[in-house]
């Protein structure tokens, strides 16, 4: 078995073809091969959620998936979501509410929150807390994050009426 694998994939809408070490995790691949450093490495064992990215529309832990598994996949990171404007309202709410301090968890937190918000409706504070409970934030104590997500849920629901 070879130590390297050739993969072709889409990252934030760009076509990418790379040869990767079979052991390279998705988040290391994004950060090191593609310089997409918005996805962060916090624990490398699937607990902290700082490496959260989207693979084929679903959020995954970039440290628990290998780059080699992503052949043919569509990957989206915080850089892609930002440039596309998909989470602009959520980012604005985080900024206005100071729902981040050091910002290290924020890209993962935004992707996780967006997954909840995409389901529509206005989740309760408990539902928001439950949904983001796999994303570790040492700075905020979470209260401000829940406020920001709740505010965006209400704004989006209001906008649809």
């Amino acid at each position: 078995m070879s130590d390297t694998v050739d993969i072709r994939l889409s990252v934030n809408g760009e076509r990418v073809a790379e040869r990767v070490d079979a052991r390279t995790t998705l988040v290391d691949f994004l950060r090191e091969a593609l310089s997409l450093t918005g996805s962060h490495v916090g624990c490398e064992h699937g607990v902290c959620g700082a490496c959260t990215v989207r693979v084929n529309g679903q959020i995954v832990r970039g440290c628990l998936m290998l780059a080699a598994q992503c052949d043919g996949a569509k990957i989206e990171t915080i850089e892609g979501l930002s440039d596309a404007g998909e989470v602009a309202d959520l980012q604005a709410a985080f900024e206005q509410r100071n729902a981040l301090q050091c910002g290290f968890c924020t890209p993962g937190m935004l992707l996780t929150a967006q997954e909840l918000l995409k389901r529509g409706g206005v989740p309760s504070r408990d539902e928001i807390r439950d949904h983001i409970s796999g994303n570790y934030c040492r700075c905020t104590g979470y209260h401000a994050i829940v406020d920001a997500v709740e505010a965006v849920a209400q704004a989006r629901a209001g906008g649809k009426k």
């Binding site: 070490d21 052991r23 950060r31 310089s35 997409l36 450093t37 918005g38 962060h40 490495v41 916090g42 624990c43 490398e44 064992h45 607990v47 902290c48 700082a50 990171t77 915080i78 850089e79 930002s82 980012q91 709410a93 985080f94 900024e95 206005q96 509410r97 100071n98 981040l100 301090q101 050091c102 910002g103 290290f104 968890c105 924020t106 890209p107 935004l110 504070r125 408990d126 928001i128 807390r129 439950d130 983001i132 409970s133 796999g134 994303n135 570790y136 934030c137 040492r138 700075c139 905020t140 104590g141 979470y142 209260h143 401000a144 994050i145 829940v146 406020d147 709740e150 505010a151 209400q154």
Partner: protein, 798 residues
């Protein structure tokens, strides 16, 4: 929906036209972070950069007999394999002592262990390779022969004659000892109607910053200069230490700190592996990067607390507290951490116990002992969580014993609001505190009476809820009394340089640093207000020893109070300079002019006279048109250090409402409140978020976090799956309130707010759990964290 609206200014004295003081201005650096465009040290890549991984001791204490490097040196990508003995030729060792902590002693520590490893996780060999993965691969091939030595793991027996001494050079395992005896303690206890005596355990926990420690060191042999990118709280302190131990001049060392993924006191210390990384760059003449992985972090980031405290309180029937007594024993690992030492926390505990109260009788003993576990040092709120928990638990146990409401007992003993300046039994000096007003505010904010009624009603249904409180004081804005007087080259002053650019905008270079707490925002608010421009026209520069005034950085809740005041004074100085130029251009007296909203105006009427952009154009490009003798000075620097008081003490009170499941032992947090007094509030939202984040960090210590060690000194739960941290689902909403007692030591009057949450939260949780279980006759819990097992044991169920 609770997005905070812009609050009106709090203080009229600072309310210049268009003042930003007291307003919840969003932080200027947030968009970068929400878009994933921050630059953390772990993101930094340089040309020719190599990566280092460390071989770490698997033993708590072992002689390093031999290090076989040959196989590792031949591994793919390896650039160098370097032992402690080899690195000792590049970098000198250090000793973590301070002269004002009399008798404090420690042993020399090297960047990589030489001959002996003293804790599990200490680096014993470095492997530098082209990639981190290759370096880790080769670490597996380094063949270290160890001779295991007996490990000292229990602080309780560390001083026993039969316990081996860790460092032969310092005779025993005692790092530091302090005794205090004030008033008439024995007589006071004898005259008490009730005495409560108990033992508290504050187990080890650690910071778990989301971004682990990270450093990139770049020695340029051609320039003979070291550039270090480091996630640190104190760039100038690190510049001094790198220079000292590499025998370089300060101007040969530049420390750059950009975005930092969380600090909390973890990143204000000297770490051997970071020092080694800098030494390796010098040795190899190329950039070397080290990022601790999470497993390394757990055994090398400083641990915190680890105190066993025997404590005693005396009280009279009328609620008067007669005396406090404590005996603190704390285990700090094999070295006192450099340069702040590991004696400060126990010293703080002695200083702070009983601090909010009038009680004049106080006896304390603290002993700080060496062990073969990871090093212990200052972490957010240093000593306060311990002292507050001990004091406040004693207060509530005493209240229960004499059958008095715990808030009433506090009212009868807290230092009176009208009687300042005041001094505590331990000798702490208080300029102005507001314990009673804070308590009254909290009482009303939480609807105390209503919650007591609800609690009583639910108890009848077998639902056990508890209310717990913690009054506290907090050390902020430290003067040189903290470290400087003890010989540490840690500055307590800070500077700010404000510069007008050629378009009429300003930049502020500050010695304080941004760790996410909002220092950039606070400095921008203050400078914009003092000088007179919209905040959008202020750019703040931090974290660069080449380009910021010499400063202390971020620790002991000093950034806003000290860095903010320096920015205020510098902003005012630049305004005066600019008005001299404006006066010349407008043929007006400078004192009749002001700068408001980015333009020079007539001071009396506010009529615009000259946009700053025009003034800057003339001053920079047509100075020939200014009158002879008028030289525009468009950059101003001011420094500030607190002088009137050694520390600006803040105060406050917290409350917790929780429910204990008496069948499972689980604790469910329902709500938390905090009223605090940090003086002038520059940015209400940022203060509240410091409080909230700090509270949750304190809750982590109270309910979840514990670095578990076995009897051989092996850490058992050094990963995030086994070491529990607070996550969103278990945390409560937190309501904040404020009382404002500015310090007169500065014009701004701001004190610190970064640690108050962490100081009080563990005490609150403890008291609330004990309040919930009191009707069940449970033994009061005093060992943190309060796991379900400990709760069930207290209930006699397991």
């Amino acid at each position: 929906m609770k997005i905070v609206e812009d609050n009106p200014p709090v203080l009229s004295a600072l309310d210049r036209p268009n003042s930003y003081i007291g307003r919840s201005v969003p932080r200027p650096n947030l968009k970068r972070l929400t878009q994933g465009r921050g630059q953390y040290v772990s993101d930094v890549t340089l040309l020719r950069m190599a990566h280092v991984a460390y071989v770490r001791s698997p033993h708590a204490h072992a002689r390093i007999v031999k290090i076989g490097k040959a196989a590792a040196e031949k591994a793919p990508g390896v650039i160098a394999v370097v032992t402690g003995a080899e690195l000792a030729k590049v970098m000198t060792p250090w000793v973590g002592v301070l002269t004002h902590l009399k008798g404090l002693k420690s042993a020399p520590q090297a960047p990589i262990a030489v001959e002996r490893a003293c804790w599990q996780g200490e680096a014993v060999c470095a492997v530098v390779a082209r990639t981190r993965a290759q370096a880790e691969d080769a670490c597996e091939l380094v063949d270290v022969t160890y001779q295991e030595l007996p490990a000292v793991v229990d602080p309780e027996t560390a001083l026993d004659a039969k316990t081996p001494v860790i460092h032969a050079s310092i005779n025993d395992n005692l790092c530091f000892e302090r005794k205090l005896d004030v008033g008439k303690v024995d007589e006071a206890f004898a005259s008490s109607d009730a005495v409560v005596e108990t033992t508290f355990m504050f187990n080890r926990h650690t910071g778990v910053t989301n971004e682990p420690r990270a450093i990139v060191a770049d020695w340029n042999e051609g320039e003979q200069r070291m550039t270090v990118y480091q996630g640190t709280q104190a760039p100038h302190m690190m510049q001094d230490l790198f220079a000292k131990h590499l025998s370089l001049r300060h101007d040969q060392v530049r420390v750059l700190t950009k975005d930092v993924g969380g600090s909390f006191g973890i990143k204000v210390h000297t770490y051997a592996d970071e020092m080694a990384t800098v030494a390796l760059s010098k040795l190899l003449k190329r950039p070397v990067k080290f990022v601790a992985d999470r497993i390394e972090s757990f055994v090398t980031d400083i641990h915190a607390r680890d105190h066993r405290i025997k404590a005693k309180i005396g009280v009279k029937k009328d609620g008067t507290i007669t005396a406090f007594e404590i005996d603190d024993l704390t285990g700090i690992g094999p070295y006192s951490v450099y340069p702040r030492t590991s004696g400060i926390e126990a010293n703080q505990v002695v200083n702070l116990v009983g601090g909010p109260y009038t009680c004049p009788n106080y006896r304390a003993q603290a002993r700080v002992v060496f062990t073969n576990k990871n090093v212990m040092c200052q972490y957010r709120a240093v000593g306060h969580p311990i002292a507050v928990a001990v004091t406040e638990a004693l207060v509530e146990l005493a209240a229960a014993k004499i059958g008095m409401d715990p808030l009433e007992l506090r009212r009868r003993n807290l230092l009176p609001d009208e009687n300042y300046p005041a001094q505590s039994a331990a000798g702490l000096k208080f300029e102005k505190l507001s314990h009673h007003e804070s308590l009254a505010h909290l009482d009303a904010m939480m609807n105390y009476a209503g919650l007591r009624a609800e609690q009583a009603k639910l108890r009848k249904n077998g639902v056990y809820r508890g209310l717990g409180f913690a009054s506290f004081i907090e050390v902020t804005n430290p003067s040189a009394a903290f470290y400087g007087v003890g010989g540490a080259r840690i500055t307590s002053q800070d500077g700010a340089t404000v510069k007008l650019d050629a378009q009429g905008n300003i930049s502020v270079a500050t010695g304080v640093t941004e760790q996410g707490q909002g220092a950039e925002a606070v400095v921008a608010q203050v400078a914009a207000s003092a000088f007179g421009v919209p905040i959008e026209r202020v750019r703040v520069v931090t974290g660069d020893t080449d380009n910021t005034p010499y400063g202390g950085g971020t620790w002991a809740s000093r950034a806003a109070g000290i860095g903010g005041e320096a920015a205020w004074q510098a902003g005012k100085a630049l305004r005066a300079n600019v008005l001299v130029v404006a006066g010349a251009m407008l043929q007006a007296k400078p004192e009749t002019l002001d700068i408001r909203n980015g333009a020079v105006v007539d001071k009396a009427t506010g009529t615009e006279r000259l946009p700053l952009e025009e003034l800057a154009r003339v001053a920079y490009f047509r100075p020939d048109t200014l009158p002879a003798g008028v030289q525009a000075e468009l950059m101003a620097t001011r420094h500030y250090v607190p002088r009137a008081w050694p520390f600006a003490f803040t105060n406050g009170i917290q409350a917790s409402y929780l429910e204990v499941d008496v069948d499972t032992g689980f604790v469910r947090l329902l709500k938390h409140w905090c009223v605090e007094d940090c003086g002038t509030i520059i940015n209400p939202q940022l203060v509240d978020e410091q409080i909230r984040g700090g509270i949750v960090q304190g809750i982590g210590a109270a309910l979840f976090e514990h670095c578990l060690y076995d009897e051989r000194g092996q850490m058992l739960n050094g990963n995030m799956a086994d070491y529990l941290v607070p996550m969103a689902a278990e945390m409560p909403d937190i309501e904040c309130g404020h009382v404002v007692s500015p310090t007169a030591d500065s014009e701004l009057g701001a004190k610190g707010a970064g640690e108050a949450g962490t100081a009080g939260a563990p005490a609150c949780i403890m008291n609330a759990i004990n309040d919930a279980l009191r009707p069940l006759g449970a033994a009061p819990l005093g060992e943190m964290p309060f796991t379900p097992e400990r709760v069930l044991k207290a209930l006699g169920k397991v």
